[in-house]
Symmetry: C2
Subunit: 221 residues, 2 copies
DNA sequence: TGTCGTATGTGACGAAGTCACAAAGCACTG
DNA sequence: CAGTGCTTTGTGACTTCGTCACATACGACA
């Protein structure tokens, strides 16, 4: 990973500085984390507010039986809702965060964070709008997990995760984790999609054949 | 409902005033809502920050098919996490809030709210610790809905909702709403609990007979 | 005592999760 | 290129959960 120009990757940061009155990274460290690093997990407490400069972090919950559900991803220019919540509420993490790619982030220590919150309306707005958007999304996840059928959710996920060529490079297990269900369930649903000629699949990759039909199932508005 | 002394019902409020420099209710209204009132619902946007003086508000999500799940309750001395999130993120409500009892609340308009957030560290702390504790709880709900069995969750709910005599005055339908499942599922589970002599039930009320066994199933730590 | 609305019981069935394996697919190695 | 080992995918049998369509039962009140 090359050293990025963080004013590009994280344009909001520089913009904040006038309102803060000094470089935002003062008192803070830029940390680098290799892909796969577990950044935080249940039982730990955050010591710093993290602003991602580059890479993505996956935040997920893991059940006792080993099933997983992806709650959200944090990418460049964003901050982690859970960290915000735990920092402000002095609580422990409920979920775990894993670096999906190599990651660079600004770590703002709690005291500096508190000070910035107090001093800068811009910073507050930045932090809280990001936070509340995540929370809004959590409500959506609860709704889907509690009430929505797996085939519909799978169709939505495939459409959401497909690249520009309509390909999704994930294993069945990874898709199951995205939706918080079991691998076998995904395998069977994908089989059904394949039978209907909506997708074609090879080991570790799925190609969307009929995006239109998938959208119809997904309830495209 | 008698007019309550809100310094009793909401002790944190008075304590905040020195740091704010004037009565907190200035620019704000005390609103009264009858039990059963729908306070907000999906698609609406909040116009004011609500601090409950008396009563409780139930926040729940309703599926297309009519199933419901209770996300949390707001009671005297607290504020609604969802309102906070929507207010800060300028978003619409994702869930609905219903007054479970008659309710009195202080409605702080957005501009005053913003000003208080800027001016008072105490107020910020009050708002955000409450907020983040709710969010933490949302994570727990996702975990339970996605990964936990209904019998276990039901046992937990019964223990949580029982009064000092071990009685739960709810219908099967209401319990189903608490857990986000179907009424029939609850009826059958309660039947099984009854068969094992863990509970006894009459129309609209359940008595816990063997709290110990319920705790064991609930996985009491 | 009858009537009506709400609450609960039940069978049948479909959808989803679990368990225990079997069978490919792929990389690496000798 | 055959063999080996790991990962990914397939499958059947079974349990749990959700849905649908009713049947009963209870309790308040005329």
């Amino acid at each position: 990973m090359s050293t990025p120009d963080w004013t590009v990757h994280f344009p909001g940061l520089r913009k904040l500085e006038p309102s803060i009155g000094r470089p935002l990274v003062e008192n803070s460290k830029v940390v680098k984390l290799a892909a796969g690093t577990r950044i935080f997990g249940p039982g730990q407490s955050p010591e710093a507010y993290l602003l991602l400069l580059d890479g993505t972090v996956r935040v997920q919950q893991v059940s006792e039986t080993g099933r997983e559900i992806v709650l959200y991803r944090v990418s460049a220019g964003e901050s982690c809702a859970l960290t915000t919540a735990c920092l402000m509420g002095y609580e422990e993490y409920q979920a775990e965060g894993v670096a999906e790619t190599d990651v660079q982030a600004v770590a703002i220590p709690r005291t500096t964070f508190d000070e910035l919150i107090a001093r800068s309306a811009e910073f507050r707005r930045f932090v809280f709008t990001a936070f509340s958007m995540r929370v809004t999304n959590l409500f959506k996840i609860i709704d889907e997990v509690a009430f929505s059928r797996v085939d519909i959710r799978l169709a939505q996920k495939l459409l959401e995760l497909a690249d520009s060529q309509g390909r999704v490079a994930l294993t069945h297990q990874q898709l199951a984790s995205e939706l918080g269900t079991a691998r076998e369930v995904i395998s069977r649903q994908l089989h059904e999609f394949q039978r209907r000629n909506w997708i074609s699949a090879t080991r570790g990759e799925i190609s969307l054949v009929s995006i239109k039909d998938l959208q119809k199932l997904a309830g495209a508005p």
